[in-house]
Every structure is written in C-alpha cells, then in structure tokens.
C-alpha cells in the first residue's frame, strides 16, 4: 500500500507539481457524515489524505485540531471507527491515505495489531506526532511487516546530524515542519518552509511534504514551489467545526481545497 504514495509523488513530479494532502480528523462533523468531507475534498482536487485518529491529548496540535478530536470522541469516534472510515475513503475516492495518530492509542491496541489494521483498511502509512526517530524502531518494524510506511519528521530545530539519521531510515516521506510550534492557523507566511525543505532535499531523494501552519492559498503556493507535497490541516478542520451543518461543511471544504489546488499550480 505504501507504493500508492510513491506512485503519486512520481506522477506529480513528472507533471512538475506538488501534491495536496488535506488533513482531516476522522468522525467529523459526525460518524455518518465524515466520509462526505473526504469525497468533497477529493472531487475538489485533493491528491491524498492525512486522516487523524481523534486523541484526547494531542501535544503537537493546536486548539483547532484538539477541539476537533474532542468533538469527534464525544460523537463516538474510536480507533476502529476511524480505520473503517479510512477503508471507506480509499474505496470511495481511490486516493492514498496516511493515518495520523499519537503513540498511546497504538500501544493501547498493540503495535502489531494496530499496523495490521491500518494495512487492512487500505492505509498506506502512519504519521505519529510524538514519535521521534530514536523511539521509532518497534513501530517502523511493524509497519514494514504490513507493507505500510512510517513518516518521520524534520523540524526547523533539527540539525544536519539528526536530519541524516532521519532520512537514513527511509521514511515514506519526510514531514517537514514549516513552523516552530504546534499545528494551527498562522496569519503570516511560514518563516522556515523554504530553508527546512532545502536542507532535507540536499540530504535525500525521499519526498518532502511541508505541514504545520500552512493555512491559506498563498502559503500553500509558496510551499508547493519548494516541496513535493503540502499538508493543510487546521484551516480546513476549522471550516468543518464552524459550519452550520454537514452539507455546508462539505461545500466549504470543496471551495477551500479547490482554491488551494489552484494556488499550488506551478506556472
């Protein structure tokens, strides 16, 4: 399943464009309407998805995604329901999906069982926000056994020595953290997107996807100039949280994703 992202990056690279990977919390706005959000984004130009499993204590996430997780949990979202959603997204949109979570839900279910379920749901890989390279061996091995891939992070604070250690582990892609700070909307342009991407590109051919704080078309366009992919999360999640009903939420997402995709064209 990891091959699906490789193929996506290869095709996009051949077409001289960066891929747009919207993040969305599973189970929003409700258990029965969550799939519609992904369908709307797929139709509007999303290339693949980062699907967040709601977690009670998301240390790397700002207020928007934290609120989204708590709301989804309150509406009944579980790890199982989130992975069922992943399966439905892959079936309905034919887009590749990377699952995002934190270490504890993986441990609670069991590392091997968790990875097996992600693979069975058709997920291509795993992003674990509180898993640095040093702690990643066990989960990476379980991913390999299930032919899914682990994504690893490089932050603006990561020095070249650590960067080399991260890329040596051959992640599915490098998640390049574009901001010092947690996820969430920023009003200004990213201060680190270009520099952190350049440093990673100098060290590896592994695709680089920029995320954290990329919240508007201008920032996405700038990120798409340098990176192989762009993740936009909180700005989209906020639209779902604030929408009056699921139909409005899907329409808002559709418009926002179309605008991002247009802005990201390199021409």
């Amino acid at each position: 399943m990891a091959d699906r992202f490789r193929q996506l990056f290869a095709e996009a690279s051949a077409a001289n464009r960066a891929v747009l990977l919207p993040y969305m919390t599973a189970g929003l706005p409700g258990p029965d309407t969550s799939l519609d959000m992904f369908k709307a984004m797929a139709a509007a130009g999303a290339d693949g998805f980062e699907v967040g499993i709601p977690y009670s204590d998301p240390l790397m996430d700002g207020p928007t995604i934290h609120e989204a997780g708590l709301r989804a949990i309150a509406a009944g979202a579980t790890v199982d329901s989130s992975l069922q959603l992943v399966e439905a997204i892959v079936a309905a949109t034919a887009k590749p999906v990377v699952v995002m979570t934190y270490v504890n839900p993986i441990l609670a279910i069991g590392v091997e069982t968790f990875c097996e379920r992600v693979a069975r749901a058709g997920g291509s890989g795993l992003i674990v926000a509180d898993l640095p390279a040093e702690e990643s061996d066990e989960i990476a091995a379980a991913c390999r056994a299930e032919r899914i891939d682990l994504v690893l992070f490089v932050a603006p604070t990561t020095d070249d020595k650590r960067l080399a250690q991260v890329v040596a582990r051959q992640p599915m892609f490098v998640y390049a953290v574009a901001e010092l700070g947690v996820t969430g909307k920023r009003d200004r342009a990213s201060s680190y997107a270009a520099s952190v991407t350049r440093r990673i590109k100098a060290a590896t051919d592994v695709p680089v996807v920029l995320g954290v704080g990329i919240s508007n078309p201008a920032a996405a366009a700038a990120a798409a100039e340098v990176a192989d992919g762009v993740i936009v999360g909180s700005a989209l999640v906020r639209r779902v949280l604030d929408a009056a009903n699921p139909k409005d939420a899907a329409a808002e997402l559709s418009a926002a994703v179309a605008e991002l995709a247009t802005a990201m064209r390199r021409d």
Binding site: S56, I106, L107, A108, A129, A155, L180
Partner: protein, 394 residues
C-alpha cells in the same frame, strides 16, 4: 557527582521513560541532557546550587518527631519538614536547580505548569531570584481553587495563563506548557514540576529532589539516640517528593510507601491512582503507568488535592512498582481531609492536602506500623488549601 541508578542512554528506567516528544523538541531535550550532565559534573554548579539551597531555601529542612501522634498510635513518627522550605514545599529544590541550568544554557525565558500552584510559585520564585522571564500554565479549575497561589506568582512577576481545555487541571496545564515550548524552544526552558515528561526531565528532577532523602539519611542515621527509619511514606502525584526521599533508600530494606489519590474511591473511577489502578502507556513524553481507556484515550483524574489530580506518574515509579522497590497504595479525599485536621489539631502543623494523604495512610495502618520508626515526607504546607477546606465544610 556520580549518578546512582541512571536511566539508559535512551532515558529508560526498565521498560519505562523514553522520549516520546515531537521532533521539534528533540534537539532541546538533547541539549538539556548535555547541559545537565556537564553542570552535574561541575563542582562550581553544585557550589552555587548548594549555597542557594542553604541560604535562600533554608536547607537542610528539619526532621521533627511528632510526639503526640507517636504516643497516641504507638508509632515512632517523624516528619521531614519540606513544608518549611522557602515557598512552603519541596518544589523549590527543583526550580532553583533548573533555573540555574536555564541560565547556564543562556535561555532567558522560563515556562512551567502547575497544579496546586506550589510548583508555579516555586518557579516564579526562582525566576525572580535569577531575573528570568516566567510564564506559568495552570488549569482554569486550579486557578479557581488555588487563587492565593495565583496571586503569589503574580506578585513575583510571573504571568499566569489559565488553561480552559479538557478537565482544566494539571494534565491540561502540562500539555499547554509543552505546546508553548514547541513554539519557543529556542529561547525558552521548560521547568517541569515533577519526575515526569520525556528524558532527561525525570532524571534531572530526581537528582534535584534527592537532597530530601540524603538529608534524612544524615538526620536519622541511628547514632546519638536517633533511630533509623523502618518505613518512609510519601504522597505520589507526578512523584517528585516521593522519588526525592525514596531514591537514596532504594534497595536499603527500608519499606518505601507511595500514597496516591483514591479520590472518591478507586471503584468510583474518580481518582488519581495511576500506579494502583492504571496501566502502562505514553503520557506527556514518557512511557509509564497512566489512567486510560481501552482505546488509549487519557482518562481525567480526580483528587481533592490539585497536586495529585494527574492521570500519570513518573516513569521511575513505574519501575519501582513492577520491581517491588516500593509499594503503592491509595487514600480517598475524605480520609486525606480527616488526616489534615488531625495533624493540624494534634501537632500544630497544617499540611498540604497532598501530604495529608501520607498521614492518612499511616493512621489507617497504625496497627501494622506499631513500634516502627515511620517518616512521613511532609512535602508542603497547607495554607494554600485552607480556603478550599473551609468550602468542604472543614
């Protein structure tokens, strides 16, 4: 100074601990580890720290024999008087040390979380002393129940940020402090308040708190008519006062008893007893016993005492639990409140609600403890709790 029972290079105490932190923080954790190792090996650092502990904090804190309670229960009962340390709790041992470390690393801004407010006050104190900027995250519920400590922090120049998220208590304050740190790590040091968090925090805080147990070893050494402890009792929230007094006695044969918060009772589910009733998981950067559901979602803790109202515990305590290096028990809100009143009326000492959990266990187990020398780590004074006790009809 050599380090007894260090964690592995990956920060593990047995299966527990580690560094489950966002990549953005990893370089800071590695820098902190290097800075700590260098400072801890530097006699100059110790000289500076020891001088402040002596002249500013008032160490060594006394050991006091609680004669009336001893007589009443047939126990040789002693209190290690951390309540007499400057700011009224053991927390200051850690904050002075870490603030010196921040200064050494050239970080002018300090953040901290606080539950009862004692760690926040101790951090604000150390920052005022050393001229560092200070921001303290505190759950909104705790801001309300510990209003006096909020004002103390503000008097010392700290900014107190009220955290409205989640249960609005200590857990959420820790999370929010970590989020701040992810954004400000280049000029900010996070003075975590207990032996919790990603490596090297559990090690650093233990090393800074072990002064409690080391003093006790000298104070009750079996010479000159002084006994040696048979049993040492300390409350456990995150577990810094308990680890501070246990560590020097590890493997010595002394019965080490950690008292967690049973809240409304373990069966009620409303408690803070991670070691007694939790299971291993990852919380706030380290693998440890914690309160969680079968999906791995963190479950809110409950305790009458804000300092024990936390769903995790220091990773080294998890090792102690599994290896039988200490035993862990739990005491309800009601029993802690009753013990607070007993200590106040019998010994003229109003303890912190946290520390009262320790006394409550001793009183409940007086028959078993008869004839033994028992030391309670009186980790903090209760002034901060008086308003809340009055509210509970005390």
């Amino acid at each position: 100074m050599s380090i007894q029972h260090p964690p592995t290079t990956q920060g593990r105490f047995g299966d527990y601990g580690g560094r489950f932190a966002p990549e953005t923080l990893m370089p800071a954790l590695l820098e902190l580890e290097a800075a700590f190792n260098s400072a801890w090996a530097d006699p100059g650092f110790h000289a500076e720290l020891d001088a402040l502990l002596a002249d500013y904090v008032g160490r060594p804190t006394p050991v006091f024999r609680a004669s009336r309670l001893s007589e009443r229960h047939g126990i040789d009962l002693w209190f290690k008087r951390e309540d007499l340390a400057h700011t009224g709790a053991h927390k200051v041992n850690n904050t002075i040390g870490q603030a010196l470390l921040a200064q050494r690393m050239g970080k002018p801004r300090i953040i901290a979380e606080t539950g009862a407010g004692q760690h926040g006050v101790a951090t604000a104190t150390a920052c005022a002393l050393l001229g560092l900027e200070c921001v303290v995250y505190m759950g909104a519920k705790d801001v309300e129940r510990q209003a006096l400590n909020v004002y103390r922090m503000q008097l010392m120049g700290a900014e107190v940020v009220s955290v409205e998220k989640g249960a609005a208590t200590l857990k959420d304050a820790v999370s929010e402090a970590m989020r701040d740190w992810v954004a400000t790590v280049e000029n900010t040091h996070y003075i975590i308040g207990s032996v919790v968090g990603p490596h090297p925090f559990p090690l650093i805080v233990r090393e800074l708190q072990k002064v409690i147990g080391e003093e006790l070893q000298r104070q009750l050494d079996g010479s000159a008519g002084k006994p040696k402890p048979d049993v040492i009792v300390a409350c456990v929230g995150g577990g810094s006062n308990s680890m501070g007094i246990f560590h020097p006695y590890r493997g010595s044969g002394v019965d080490l008893v950690g008292v967690e918060a049973a809240g409304h009772g373990i069966a009620s589910g409303a408690h803070g007893a991670s070691l007694v009733a939790g299971s291993p998981g990852v919380l706030h950067g380290s693998r440890t016993y914690m309160l969680q559901d079968e999906q791995g979602q963190v479950v809110e803790a409950h305790s009458i005492s804000a300092g024990l109202d936390y769903p995790g515990v220091g990773p080294e305590h998890s090792l102690y639990r599994d290896e039988g290096l200490a035993r862990y028990v739990a005491i309800t809100d009601d029993d802690a409140l009753a013990a607070l009143k007993v200590m106040s009326a019998t010994e003229g000492i109003i303890p912190a609600l946290e520390s009262a959990h320790g006394l409550a266990w001793i009183l409940a187990n007086a028959a078993e403890l008869k004839g033994k020398t028992v030391v309670l780590n009186l980790s903090g004074r209760g002034d901060k709790d008086v308003q809340q006790i009055a509210k509970f009809g005390g």
